[in-house]
């Protein structure tokens, strides 16, 4: 396909293939291949369509599910939150009226929107994918340009299948080497964000490169891309390869037969060309990475698990110092202290970052033969009903339940604490989700972000623990 043209990055190729119009001085009209919709950020967009008398241009390129507000209690427990019921009903009505396929409350395919897109094979290399949700960056793991949009933009895409975009810059994140035992994909991304800060990627699209990235499974790659937004980048991408194709082959929406062959050929042309340049780059040495944990109130406030909480007094910049002081005050933590040994109240294994089958497998393996500490509530929330079914078929649910963990229905759950799953004020949690903002997991709750392994280590010991001591 690409003959001897200027070498291009993966991002540039996909961008170029989706330009509908680019008038000088105006943003680019970019074509969107797949639009994912959920119950929380879409109602006002459908209202907008109705008010303007517009239709959905391509219902077939749109897919809806419900995940954010859905309870994770057993299906026979009725939903009581009136507002959640209203949002569910509204999404059902909207999908029906506009002809959009919906994986609704009783669908066996329901789940967190960023878990089910890939699971159903809807997420395919080379696509542009958007959703009214910032963790749409997850889909970049397949070599797609995928990013979160606001509700006005949801309306734009529904009506026109296009979006107005200013071209972002590119940022190469090279991760070279081999991860040590007990160190995982989550630790790569937490390390990156702790280095560049939560605004470090603003205005950029990340491309993750290097031997440590190539060695990751698709599910691990999704974990990395998922948190690109926590580094400020709206999108993060990984070039497709054999691992990608193997994951996709045979999935319900994946191309079949002759179309599959054609697709593979097109996808092979996507990776960044030799000699292509990026606007910014950083290298991470995978060999020296440790399990990571956050201590503060944004995902950039992270450190190796054996580290000491930084001292605000050592920071020159006044506002940065104040930010850290405020964070430590909220977290009830002392500068200069280790986090190791910090008692924990709740452990949350779930969210679009770490709720896929491989996350549950890794966690179950470590839980097996151990008990959840008496003082700890350990919630396991599969990312989708399909993940839940598969995990149950493997008996993972039994391992969790025998250890004393809660095995729940699929959804966003305590990642965003909209559905009743939440921390009590002052409680400490180790969470495999992606945001530790004040109150994110419940008003007054305090979150330490970490990998599934580190989460299990905390669950079984009752405190922040270096998982490598348990392996």
């Amino acid at each position: 396909m690409s003959t001897n043209k200027t070498p291009q990055t993966l991002f540039e190729k996909i961008w170029q293939q989706h330009v509908v119009a680019a008038e000088p001085g105006n943003p680019t009209v970019l074509y969107i291949d797949l639009h994912l919709v959920h119950e929380v950020t879409s109602p006002q967009a459908f209202t907008g369509l109705r008010q303007k008398g517009l239709k959905v241009r391509h219902p077939g390129k749109t897919m809806a599910t419900m995940d954010h507000g859905i309870p994770t209690t057993p299906p026979d427990v009725p939903i009581t939150d009136e507002l959640v019921i209203k949002q569910i009903n509204q999404l059902e009505t909207n999908c029906q009226e506009f002809g959009i396929p919906l994986h609704g409350i009783h669908s066996p395919n329901r789940g967190i929107v960023h878990v089910i897109g890939p699971e159903l094979g809807l997420t395919q290399p080379g696509m542009t994918i958007v959703c009214g949700d910032s963790h749409t960056s997850t889909h970049g793991a397949f070599g797609t340009l995928a990013f979160g949009i606001g509700t006005s933009e949801v309306e734009h895409v529904l009506a026109t299948q296009c979006l107005l975009q200013t071209k972002p810059q590119t940022y190469a994140v090279k991760v070279e080497g081999t991860l040590g035992q007990g160190v995982s994909a989550k630790d790569i991304i937490l390390n990156l964000i702790s280095r560049i800060g939560i605004g470090g990627g603003t205005g950029y699209v990340f491309e993750y490169l290097g031997s440590a990235i190539r060695a990751l499974s698709m599910e691990e790659r999704m974990t990395v891309c998922n948190m690109s937004i926590e580094g400020g980048a709206r999108a993060g991408m990984i070039a497709p390869d054999e691992i990608t194709f193997e994951y996709l082959a045979g999935r319900p929406a994946a191309p079949k037969g002759k179309a599959w062959e054609t697709a593979i050929n097109q996808w092979f042309a996507l990776p960044t060309d030799d000699g292509a340049t990026f606007d910014q780059e950083i290298t991470i040495d995978a060999n020296t990475l440790e399990p990571m944990i956050t201590y503060g109130t944004n995902p950039g406030m992270g450190m190796p698990i054996s580290g000491l909480i930084p001292d605000p007094d050592a920071i020159k910049d006044v506002s940065e110092r104040q930010t850290l002081m405020k964070a430590l005050q909220y977290m009830g933590l002392q500068a200069g202290q280790p986090l190791l040994g910090q008692p924990i109240d709740v452990v949350f294994l779930g969210s679009c970052t770490n709720s896929r089958l491989s996350d549950l497998r890794v966690a179950a393996q470590l839980v097996k033969g151990r008990k959840v500490a008496e003082t700890v509530r350990f919630m396991v929330v599969p990312g989708s009903q399909q993940v839940k079914l598969q995990a149950e078929a493997e008996g993972l649910d039994k391992i969790f339940k025998e250890a004393g963990a809660e095995w729940r229905e699929a959804g966003c759950s305590m990642c965003i604490a909209m559905n009743g799953d939440q921390l009590q004020p002052g409680q400490y949690a180790v969470s495999t989700s992606n945001r530790n903002f004040e109150g994110r997991q419940g008003k007054g709750g305090r979150t330490f972000l970490a990998s599934p392994l580190t989460a299990v280590a905390a669950a079984v010991t009752g405190k922040v623990t270096d998982v490598r001591t348990l392996l």
Binding site: H68, G150, E153, A159, T160, I198, T323
Partner: protein, 203 residues
């Protein structure tokens, strides 16, 4: 969208850095199907006591806060989620512009589509504005969108960046959707040219 040309108003400061959208409007208030009422819960967890009564000293609960039309915030404002509820809540409270040293991408995009001006200024101007709010809280400043300038009480004009397209839309008060709809023919042509792309899902 309302037109925005010039604004002369007082400002209030919440100078914390990295204010994320969970602080601007906590997730429990996203269970709405319209945009009404979000302003009452703007900065909810910082603004109200545990029993729901307003904290009297939090600036948004003061008379000064209620009159202000400009919010002065710390660096990297609006990071976190893509929820448009954040700018809806800010506008719902009565703000028409937010001034900071930088903004998160999605928040900035969302705001520009709604006509809430995200104004990025240099650190020095930011500090000057902060001390102005502290020392003379009733002072007004002006924002002139046409000239992309914040005019300080001493008459100094500080320029701010905004892309021409968003600027024109906001000056005229027109929705960006119109521009996209104007490309109907180009979109159709694009679809026809790419009909054989394997990635094209059901049509």
């Amino acid at each position: 969208m309302e037109k925005f040309t010039t604004l002369t108003a007082t400002l209030v400061a919440i100078p914390t850095e990295n204010i994320d959208t969970d602080q601007i409007i906590p997730a429990r208030f996203l269970k709405v199907t319209d945009k009404a009422g979000l302003g009452d819960n703007l900065f909810c967890d910082w603004r109200y006591q545990a029993d729901g009564t307003p904290k009297p000293d939090f600036v948004l609960n003061t008379e000064r806060g209620k009159k202000a039309k400009i919010l002065l915030a710390g660096d990297n404002f609006g990071c976190g989620s893509s929820r448009e509820h954040a700018p809806w809540a800010i506008m719902g409270y009565g703000f028409q512009a937010v001034i900071s040293t930088s903004f998160a991408d999605i928040f900035r995009n969302n705001s520009l589509k709604l006509g809430l001006l995200p104004i990025a200024v240099d650190k020095e101007t930011h500090l000057q504005l902060l001390s102005l709010v502290e020392e003379e809280p009733t002072t007004q400043i002006s924002i002139d969108l046409q000239n992309q300038a914040v005019v300080l009480p001493d008459g100094r004009a500080v320029n701010f960046p905004i892309d021409n397209f968003s600027k024109t839309c906001i000056l005229k008060g027109v929705d960006q959707l119109g521009y996209l709809q104007g490309h109907a023919a180009a979109i159709e042509a694009y679809e026809a040219n790419h009909a054989d792309r394997v990635n094209t899902l059901a049509r």
